[in-house]
Symmetry: C2
Subunit: 296 residues, 2 copies
């Protein structure tokens, strides 16, 4: 997979993490160790894997993390009480509540309860609103912020580019569109948001200079939907059957990588593209939260 058009998310994430080392050192010399709390509810296997990776990345950078685990049957009141405690804990600069949460708990209630100044996931309405308003004082959600960093560091020009965002979710699609359409660096694109009610997704994709695939549909984007030379960012994480694997399944993205890669201008592999950037942006947000704490 060493094709010349690959955007190596692992290498770029490693570069960002190496840049953060100096910032963490400055914090430590000021007596501050960045602290991040993870909250998991229940035993969702993917959540365990995600939080495990984030814990490891924190440890490597010198961010102190702690993980709080509530049982699958935990009530919303119990989770709110935990968040209130973490909000009030001064050595914790960031709080990440890993989704999905069990059905008895309303995610939007939870995300609105994390202090905006500790909301390193960028999910609190205040931070979402600031993003939309072009106010850069809030935290940006990690996955779309990671896509923007990949575009910048790969030299992809977004100014005036035709961008199609596939998917209108709160975690990727909507903030991605808001980031790329606004004025500024790595923005100023003409953005179209496509989704399940779009009449002709293929026509939109065929005119796009950049496609961000975040539908959550395995290998949705086929080669005949892509303009030669287009830049393809694959955000999807889908588990599909695979008879050749020990587990009987494998992970694939929202892009039919094998067939799209030969005609794309640049493309993220998956895994190894957007995924590592989500973690790098979480680390960056956490370091930033600690820096703000010092300034305040």
């Amino acid at each position: 997979m060493a094709a010349a058009n690959l955007i190596d998310g692992r290498a770029i994430a490693a570069q960002i993490q190496s840049e953060l080392v100096a910032r963490v050192a400055v914090l430590k010399s000021a007596g501050v160790i960045p602290g991040l709390a993870f909250v998991r509810v229940g035993e969702d296997p993917a959540s365990k894997v995600y939080v495990g990776r984030k814990e490891k990345a924190c440890a490597e950078l010198g961010i102190v993390s702690e993980t709080h685990l509530l049982p699958q049957a935990a009530t919303e009141v119990e989770l709110l009480a935990l968040i209130a405690k973490l909000n009030a804990t001064s050595h914790l600069h960031g709080i990440l509540v890993q989704a999905p949460l069990p059905k008895q708990i309303c995610e939007s209630v939870i995300f609105s309860t994390v202090l905006p100044t500790k909301d390193v996931d960028g999910f609190h309405p205040v931070n979402v609103g600031k993003l939309m308003l072009g106010d850069h004082t809030g935290f940006r959600p990690c996955t779309p912020a990671g896509v923007v960093e990949l575009l910048i560091r790969s030299g992809v020009k977004t100014e005036g580019a035709e961008v199609v965002v596939l998917g209108r979710g709160n975690i990727v699609g909507k903030p991605m569109a808001a980031m790329l359409c606004q004025k500024g660096q790595a923005a100023n694109s003409t953005v179209t948001i496509c989704h399940s009610a779009t009449r002709d997704i293929k026509a939109h994709c065929l005119r796009a200079d950049i496609i961000v695939a975040a539908m959550g549909v395995a290998e949705f984007l086929k080669a005949d939907m892509v303009k030669p030379g287009a830049v393809i960012m694959d955000v999807g994480v889908n588990r599909v059957p695979d008879a050749t694997s020990k587990t009987g399944t494998k992970l694939v993205g929202d892009v039919d990588f094998a067939n799209v890669q030969p005609i794309a201008g640049r493309i993220t592999p998956n895994p190894g593209g957007v995924g590592p950037m989500t973690i790098a942006m979480l680390l960056q947000n956490t370091v930033h939260a600690a820096e703000l704490k010092i300034k305040s």
Copy 2:
């Protein structure tokens, strides 16, 4: 101008205001008179006109309004002190700070200071964030909410429609796109946001079923940019020279109305289209704020 394809904003706004009469009566029978504070800074002529119209509409509906005028040289601290007082005044359910503000005052600081529960303009980051997240517990900004109401009450189908929003401002363009792309009634459209950096606005407009013109450029949308049968919503308010008028100027929209109207499926006149709806939505938000106060 009684052409069959006109969307009569004055009539639809009057209909909405007549529907609000019953809700105001219920509030009054519960001992609550909806109260709205207007804040103006300086003597911007357009702001005077806008606030005057809103005051009149409040009076007609039985909303008690009061207008606070600060001098052109007022400081941000003075305005913040006034807003703090209005936030704490229990008979005021809504606060509207009329933009534009003088240069020494940061609008985003001011809009973030109005209590979200009194933010009947829908400009506070919490309300903007809720809008983007599809959380219907916040206040929607009046102008794009008015456009949505016009579409609903004119029977325009938005499901699967190709929508082009011209302009990416915080007051109309961005929230308009967010409202129309999400799931739900009068939404589910495929939205493209065009702006000053868009390469080929004409091509986007020509494929649109619905165009919302909010660029702030007089008569920007010409007939050769419109697909026959398209629905045209004109949000623009631009003052241009007019030798035939006593003042030497006249107001025009962002649409070349005379030439676009013959080919449009439906079109808002301007004035008399979107403008009256902005006021109707402000009244609706204020009544809603008073209703929420009773429930809480």
